[in-house]
Symmetry: C2
Subunit: 180 residues, 2 copies
């Protein structure tokens, strides 16, 4: 016996996902993958028709500047080309999650935004109104956090929907824990 | 197609629940009920066999002191009696959630601890190792929070499992938002 509102609609879970800082093009970060796997294994489980996943990747405008150090910008087209490369990177990242969702049989949508991740995520939450936001987290101690900041701490405080943060497991932490 | 770990075991969700400060004996607080209903409607949905709910109520040792202002303590037995009354109150609170869970058809366990709720919840998380902790929250602004503190903020930072905080909806907020 379920309450009347159960299964009246799907539960929409937004996942903020980003690229790995160590594994090279176009891998998902360890913490993004942890957040995704947790959502599948612990929340969605076998009830694949009861949920919809919304993957949001926020590109930081200067994020890929280092990849362009050997590029020569000689015309406006060169910049257009760099921006196009950014988009391809981002769409390859999202492709990973969309493909996995299709394999599992859960409906999904994925999109890219540019800006400051923590602010863009909060704005997108306001616009899309999901039931839950799941974010990966590197599980850094307070000392390391001072230098890198955490998107998840900001979102827990400011987003207009329930937020759950999934920490990387200890055995997945790379040599430099700031990496992901 | 699910991954091999899906449905290998149930997802264990702990809910920290407390009494209402306005509705009198033995009502659950508005935010505890919100957290419970959210868990049922948005997470468990129709998959009642995939989850187990763990209800924890932490009694603050002096919480009910005001109920005892007309009592006369003349012997050690009187104190034992007061402690017994506390236990009855707490078990009536838990009865509400256990009854609702049984109606819905989801397995559950419930127990009572004494102490500082935020610390006891973190200790119980360590002991019981649930997959998720769901806590209700009054949704107070920063000014109101200074005076009442919030258990959920502490648990988000210190508990060794993912934590999600469910805010009361605006239309459920009582006249004095510190009440619950």
């Amino acid at each position: 016996m379920a309450t009347s509102s159960v299964d009246s609609d799907v539960t929409r879970i937004m996942l903020g996902v980003n690229e790995s800082s160590i594994k090279g093009y176009p891998h998902a970060s360890i913490s993004s993958k942890s957040a995704f796997e947790w959502t599948i294994n612990k929340i969605i489980r076998s009830n694949t028709t009861g949920f919809k996943l919304l993957f949001l990747h926020v590109q930081i405008p200067d994020e890929d500047a280092f990849d362009e150090v050997d590029s020569i910008y000689a015309s406006p087209e060169d910049f257009r080309d760099a921006s196009r490369k950014d988009k391809i990177r981002a769409s390859h990242l999202l492709e990973y999650f969309v493909k996995r969702s299709h394999e599992i049989g859960v409906a999904c949508e994925a999109w890219i935004k540019k800006g400051d991740p923590k602010e863009v995520i909060c704005l997108e939450i306001k616009r899309v109104q999901p039931d839950l936001l799941v974010l990966g987290n590197r599980g850094l101690g307070p000392f390391q956090r001072v230098f890198v900041g955490t998107v998840s701490e900001f979102c827990v405080k400011h987003c207009e929907c329930p937020v759950v943060t999934i920490k990387r497991s200890a055995d997945e932490t790379p040599q430099d824990p700031v990496d992901d």
